[in-house]
């Protein structure tokens, strides 16, 4: 199973939302990291044909996707960032509706809906109207609809936003399980989600693909570029103004500021163990010296 994106470019007026994006995906979870406006949603919208394409090509199993969009749409499950639903519908009827749109037949659809409701832990609430659901419950319904039809390609935009830690872990584990047989593109700001389940991470910045590699490689790339320094609040603020945003950790003796960048304060203590993807994120997106 292979999804190839070649030189995808998209402008919105004068703004370049995506610039010559090329990548190849096979089975597994691909985490997409990027700040707001990096082009993550544009990428997803181009793959799902929700925005007119400008230039570039998409191939699935070596077939041009835009030559046979309807066939390709059978392979996609999409969960957008925005929670869109019909509030007058119950969770079950909403899933039936999307399932029908996906071309699923009666028995098959019913079975899948019940299974998915079980997976997202909404079986007892399935008859209730969506308007009465909490944000997290709606998120789970949106995930369930993306999984309907057993798609080969799953595009998830912030799938665990609004979920409590327990639910987040459940969903994450499930995504990891199903990704063995499909391509999963997961755009998120929750770095721990990517850390746990992504086999590859794409770093996007201002419409460009900066890096596509494994989490371990990303982490090893910034060894020697992560430092910690004990200081006061005021000193921490000054240092962040100079070196970029860092993580402030409260301690008994004040604040421990963790900075990431090519240039670090002389007095900082360089860390080689315990570097996380969050540090990678800070390195690429918050550092003034990168």
């Amino acid at each position: 199973m292979k999804l190839e994106l070649k030189n995808l470019t998209k402008h919105y007026g004068e703004i370049c939302a995506l610039s010559n994006f090329s990548a190849t995906f096979t089975k597994g979870v691909y985490g997409i990291l990027g700040a707001n406006g990096a082009g993550k949603s544009t990428l997803m919208n181009l793959i799902t044909d929700n925005v007119a394409y400008e230039s570039g090509e998409i191939y699935f199993e070596n077939q041009r996707v835009w030559a046979s969009r309807k066939t390709f749409r059978e392979k996609i499950g999409y969960m957008p960032q925005q929670q869109g639903y019909y509030e007058e519908m119950s969770a079950r009827s909403y899933l039936y509706y999307i399932g029908r749109l996906k071309g699923l037949s009666g028995k098959q659809l019913k079975k899948q809906v019940e299974e998915l409701l079980e997976i997202v832990n909404l079986k007892d609430e399935a008859h209730q109207l969506l308007r009465s659901f909490s944000g997290g419950m709606k998120q789970r319904v949106m995930l369930a609809q993306a999984l309907l039809g057993n798609p080969s390609i799953l595009l998830l935009d912030e799938p665990t936003a609004g979920l409590d830690p327990r639910e987040r872990i459940r969903i994450r584990n499930y995504i990891a399980k199903i990704a063995r047989e499909r391509i999963v593109l997961l755009a998120t700001h929750i770095v721990s989600d990517i850390e746990c389940i992504a086999s590859n991470v794409l770093i996007m910045k201002k419409g460009e693909l900066k890096s596509m590699t494994t989490p371990e490689q990303l982490i090893s790339n910034i060894i020697g570029k992560v430092g910690q320094i004990q200081c006061t609040f005021e000193e921490a603020e000054k240092l962040q103004k100079q070196y970029g945003m860092g993580t402030m950790i409260q301690s008994n003796d004040g604040v421990v500021l963790r900075l990431v960048g090519d240039k670090l304060p002389e007095q900082s203590h360089i860390i080689t163990n315990g570097i996380t993807l969050e540090d990678v994120y800070l390195y690429y997106f918050c550092n003034k010296n990168t």
Partner: protein, 719 residues
């Protein structure tokens, strides 16, 4: 699944039901505008009995008989007037007049057909038409061919009233179009609810879904036509009399120029089908325009603008104008399909005369097919994410520019914007205004001869009553009596001449009766004066329609329209915050509690005043235009049925007080709606609760279930 989503949507179904009930209510209101219940029943019975009696007679005999009947009826009415001032004209007389008009029209039918054919023969001889390929001659020839088929048609006398009332009721069209727009909004809901991207990504979420929706629209329009039109037709038949569907359609006198041979039943099927085609085509066009724009408000505004232009062209271009093609090829004009049927009209198309109905039918087909194709293409090609249209960009920039220029609006202005713009309150008020304009009846009132004279004498002797006034009246009475005596002694024995004298005597007697009733009123006023109650002679007819018992029903219906409007506009005024999820945020602000509530109550008050202004303003305008509101400077006791009022106020002041009180009651209702809205969680539930508590009991009360009056706000507002 799409059909299930729509047909199981309770809100949608309730709105369709509301439209249905509104349509029926407005039809009843229109019927009551034309004649009251008693008149209607009398008219129906009279027409049916007359037709049964005379249908085999020669038309001249029928006309003579009807003339005699009308005269007899005038006499009976005169006697009734002496006993009961509030009767204008009986339903019997209305019925007789209707039949008279129908007989006259039918009498001229075959002559009209013959004259068209003769016209062809005569025109062919004229040099100016000798040119074979000239449009003029082609038109004449085509007209003659089309009318020729009517030579063997023999229309019969029948009760036209029920069909005329049905055809003249235009509100059904607007209600069905509103239903179609609601359906289209259901299709476009995915855009507003943020689900478009998900639907667009599915296998059947584009063209397949669009095809399904076309089918749903086609089905729903069919249901609307069948339900709404047949209901109005049946109500009309029930109230005005049955029809014989086997008679030739030209028996309906307004359709004598309908150059097709079919029965009335066949015509009604044809009419329903044409209406269906029109609504379906129009709905597709609306859907297409709304789909072209990502912002549905922009799309709808553009469509309304186009429709408005078409409507204006239809109403302003004359049929005889050289530009009449813009009148007849007109999407707004086609709504009045009955006018296309009752008028024979050819237009020039590439030097050939083509009948406007045929052109319309072809265009219906073309527009329908083109719209469907365009919608399918749009469904396949249009992306959820894309460039905004130039209109949206323009309006956004205009909005930004305005926002930059004007200071930050006050809390009151922002609340007003929420109510009238975001919650579409302004649209509901505009619809109320349109309905009032549509239903405004400023047609001339038919009065019997005696009532005409009474109005004349009221005008002549309007004002305070003195001995001089009575003396003048007595002199006039004597003059009329002398005239009657002279006429009575001038019969010649010649039937024709004597008939003429008889009619003059009738007229003078009507005049005398009228004058006597004014004299009686004058004496009554003098008697009141002796008791210390001042009054003048004032024609009460207009005030009867505003305050009189006989027109109570109409007054209550007017108030009912206002109550419905208030429920629809204000029902969600407080529940919007809860629905939008901003309630908890607003409540913790400084002005988010008491101040905001006061602002909302103030807004509701203004809304109630505006609504009252519209409904009562139109009521007063209609009455003053049709009947006149005379002598409002005189004391209120000048109106006979208001003699018991002991306050020393003028009629004008009394009118102001009554309408002021009614407006105050409307304000109380609006405040109650605000209170109810604050207890609801959604806009829809707020509106639903208001309709349930205020509109439902009032509906039942107006329909005659008087026991419900105790909980009907209309009864309490109707002071």
């Amino acid at each position: 699944m799409e059909w299930k989503r729509i047909f199981q949507n309770k809100r949608f179904l309730i709105m369709i039901l509301v439209l249905y009930v509104l349509c029926i209510f407005l039809f009843y209101r229109e019927m009551n505008n034309k004649e009251n219940k008693t008149q209607r029943l009398e008219m129906k019975q009279k027409v049916e009995s007359i037709i049964d009696q005379v249908e085999e007679w020669e038309s001249t005999n029928i006309l003579q008989y009807l003339t005699e009947q009308i005269q007899k009826e005038n006499e009976q009415i005169s006697q009734q007037y002496n006993r009961n001032e509030e009767v204008e004209v009986s339903g019997t007389l209305l019925g007789l007049k209707e039949v008279y008009q129908e007989v006259t029209a039918l009498d001229g039918f075959s002559q009209k057909v013959q004259s068209v054919l003769q016209n062809e023969q005569q025109m062919e001889l004229l040099a100016v038409f000798q040119k074979d390929d000239g449009y003029g001659l082609k038109n004449i020839k085509k007209t003659a061919r089309d009318y020729e088929v009517l030579l063997n048609v023999h229309p019969k006398l029948m009760n036209n009233i029920s069909l005329n009332r049905y055809f003249d009721f235009k509100i059904t069209d607007f209600v069905i179009i509103a239903g179609a727009i609601l359906t289209i909004f259901m299709f476009l809901q995915e855009r507003k609810r943020g689900i478009w991207e998900v639907v667009n990504t599915t296998k059947r979420g584009r063209c397949y879904l669009a095809i399904e929706r076309v089918g749903i629209l086609a089905l729903l329009i069919g249901v609307f036509v069948a339900l709404f039109h047949s209901t109005i037709l049946l109500i009309s038949i029930f109230n005005y009399g049955a029809i014989d569907v086997s008679l030739p359609v030209q028996s309906i006198t307004r359709l004598q120029d309908f150059t097709y041979v079919m029965s009335i039943g066949q015509f009604l099927i044809y009419y329903f089908i044409m209406k269906y085609f029109y609504y379906f085509m129009l709905a597709l066009l609306i859907w297409l325009v709304l789909s072209l724009f990502r912002n549905t408000t922009v799309g709808l505004s553009i469509f309304i603008f186009i429709f408005g232009v078409e409507y204006t062209l239809f109403n302003t271009i004359l049929s005889s104008s050289g530009k009449n093609i813009w009148k007849y090829i007109n999407i707004a004009g086609w709504m009045n399909w009955i006018e296309y049927c009752q008028r024979y009209q050819n237009v020039k198309l590439f030097s050939y005369p083509i009948e406007i109905k045929q052109i319309a039918l072809v265009l219906f087909c073309i527009f329908t097919v083109v719209s469907i194709c365009a919608l399918l293409i749009l469904a396949g090609k249009r992306k959820p994410i894309g460039k905004q249209s130039i209109f949206t960009v323009f309006f956004n920039r205009l909005g930004s520019w305005i926002s930059n220029k004007i200071p930050v609006p006050s809390l009151f202005a922002l609340e007003a914007r929420k109510l009238f713009w975001m919650q579409r309150g302004i649209w509901i008020l505009l619809i109320l205004l349109l309905i009032q304009i549509q239903m405004l009846n400023t047609s001339k009132v038919y009065y019997s001869e005696e009532l005409m004279y009474r109005n004349y004498y009221y005008k002549k002797y309007e004002g305070l009553v003195t001995d001089q006034t009575l003396k003048k009246m007595e002199e006039e009475e004597q003059s009329i009596s002398r005239a009657i005596k002279e006429l009575s002694s001038s019969f010649t024995g010649d039937e024709a001449v004597d008939n003429g004298i008889f009619i003059q005597i009738q007229s003078q007697q009507a005049r005398l009766t009228a004058l006597k009733s004014i004299m009686e009123r004058g004496n009554g006023i003098l008697a009141l004066g002796e008791k210390g109650v001042g009054a003048g002679i004032v024609n009460p007819i207009g005030y009867q329609h505003l305050f009189g018992k006989s027109e109570e029903h109409k007054q209550e219906e007017t108030i009912f329209m206002g109550v419905i409007t208030l429920c629809l506009v204000l029902g969600g005024i407080c529940s919007l915050e809860k629905q939008a999820g901003t309630y908890s945020v607003i409540k913790v602000t400084k002005k988010g509690s008491n101040t905001q509530v006061i602002q909302k109550i103030l807004l509701a008050t203004i809304c109630a005043i505006v609504v009252s202004g519209i409904i009562f303003g139109f009521e007063i305008y209609e009455v003053s235009h049709r009947y006149g509101l005379f002598g409002n400077q005189y004391r209120v006791t000048s109106i006979s049925f208001l003699e018991s009022i002991s306050f020393n106020i003028s009629i004008g002041q009394y009118v102001c007080i009554i309408y002021g009180l009614r407006t105050f009651m409307m304000i109380l209702v609006s405040s109650s709606i605000v209170f109810l809205s604050s207890k609801c969680k959604t806009v829809f539930s707020g509106i639903a609760i208001s309709l349930l508590l205020f509109v439902l009991p009032s509906t039942m009360y107006i329909m005659g279930i008087s026991i419900v009056g105790i909980i009907s706000v209309v009864k309490y507002i109707h002071i």
